[in-house]
Symmetry: C2
Subunit: 248 residues, 2 copies
């Protein structure tokens, strides 16, 4: 237990430590769906369900970042933040993150058209992703930026995942470009966002709001995997209308 009174400003390193603690407790690297994936215990159909559903999250990332851009009157901030939109939407014929994710989905055996339609995604995944758009649009700009700080934790998860995917699901190899790109993009983005949050959270209350926004973002990622686990692993009951696994 901290003995620091709750209205004392945290130092930058104390703030970082609080954010890291949120990730250790709540980031989706601990979710049972990911644990099974990394142990090689998911079937190709389960990997399809994951790729198809997670596509909806990927597709909304530039929308989320455009909302954040739209809330800033600082051209310096906007010039930095727009990198994220470029990374996801691509530039001059170079595929961005969304297109790379489609390659991953295709590597699982799905057609791009089926994924692009988003017709079969789980309602629970859709609601969680849409809640992310609500968060960045309706709460303070500080909280909107802070909600991106899950990127502080993503390099470690992606490093682990790349090894696990290559070992256990070698048929995915042609679809791994999304993750290799994120290995460098995510830490750059996280560093900028952390510095911005640290310098713009001028009171302890602001700092607590930023920490709360990161918790809420962790819950948004976690809920997507809950929906996948429930529908495609145990008990294995997707809701009416959602993607069904092929029976083996």
């Amino acid at each position: 237990m901290s003995t620091i009174s709750s209205d004392v400003l945290l130092s930058t390193e104390e703030l970082r430590a609080r954010l890291v603690a949120v990730g250790q407790e709540r980031y989706h690297h601990k979710h049972p769906f990911h644990l099974l994936m990394h142990e090689g215990r998911l079937t190709r159909s389960q990997m399809q369900a994951w790729a198809l559903n997670r596509y909806y999250y990927q597709s909304q990332i530039p929308v989320k970042d455009a909302i954040i851009l739209s809330r800033s009157n600082d051209a310096v901030f906007r010039r930095s933040w727009r990198k994220r939109i470029v990374d996801h939407d691509g530039v001059d014929g170079q595929p961005g993150g969304i297109e790379k994710w489609l390659r991953l989905a295709e590597a699982t055996g799905l057609t791009a058209a089926r994924v692009l339609s988003t017709a079969e995604i789980l309602p629970g995944v859709r609601y969680a992703v849409d809640a992310y758009l609500q968060l960045v649009g309706q709460r303070s700009p500080l909280e909107a930026v802070a909600s991106s700080l899950t990127e502080m934790f993503s390099r470690d998860l992606i490093s682990l995942r790349l090894d696990a995917l290559r070992q256990h699901y070698p048929w995915l190899e042609s679809g791994l470009a999304y993750f290799t790109a994120r290995l460098t993009q995510a830490p750059e983005d996280a560093e900028f966002a952390f510095d911005w949050v640290a310098s713009h959270a001028g009171t302890r209350e602001d700092q607590e709001l930023a920490i709360g926004a990161l918790k809420d973002k962790c819950a948004i990622l976690w809920a997507q995997l809950d929906a996948l686990y429930y529908s495609y692993i145990e008990p294995g009951w997707p809701p009416p209308g959602a993607f069904r696994m092929e029976t083996a």
Copy 2:
């Protein structure tokens, strides 16, 4: 398969039949969580989880109806629709639906303060309920009204549930006023909403939008029970920060 061309207006009774078919396939009377509840197979802690989480849905119903009111310029419509807000918020010292739901939660052994805080509700439940507010605020008024048509199916479910609750969970008796009130309120509301949808859907496209809105509402109800099932029945993993059942 229907041989009717897709641009021919459905008759009122054809429209009703299509809506009823949506309910038969997708309404949450078929959800495994409800099936277990009605068979008497839920523990008191599982019933607490249900009452605590479903409270968030109840609490947002008048907000949802106020959004619908706010989108109408027809005083006749608004006079009818406001009944729903009165029913849920109460009048002159008579408890409304929200307060009755709190009595139900208390009958499971929870304190009202714990329920009112909404601190422990499942993120998946919160996102689904918030998606309902988005639906009625952002889609057409016709779709907003049509999304309420799950009330066409609720009397049968509540009748069945009242019998099951009295038989299997007699300690809930003091909390059942919510359901007895809804036995008459829901059919009245459904009749008004159906007539309004039938008379305001002037094209087949409108009719299909109304049917789609009802499907989407069914998914919103279903997703709440998915989150409950996953967290409190099987495999039984609530996300970080959510309500935990007492260990027996």
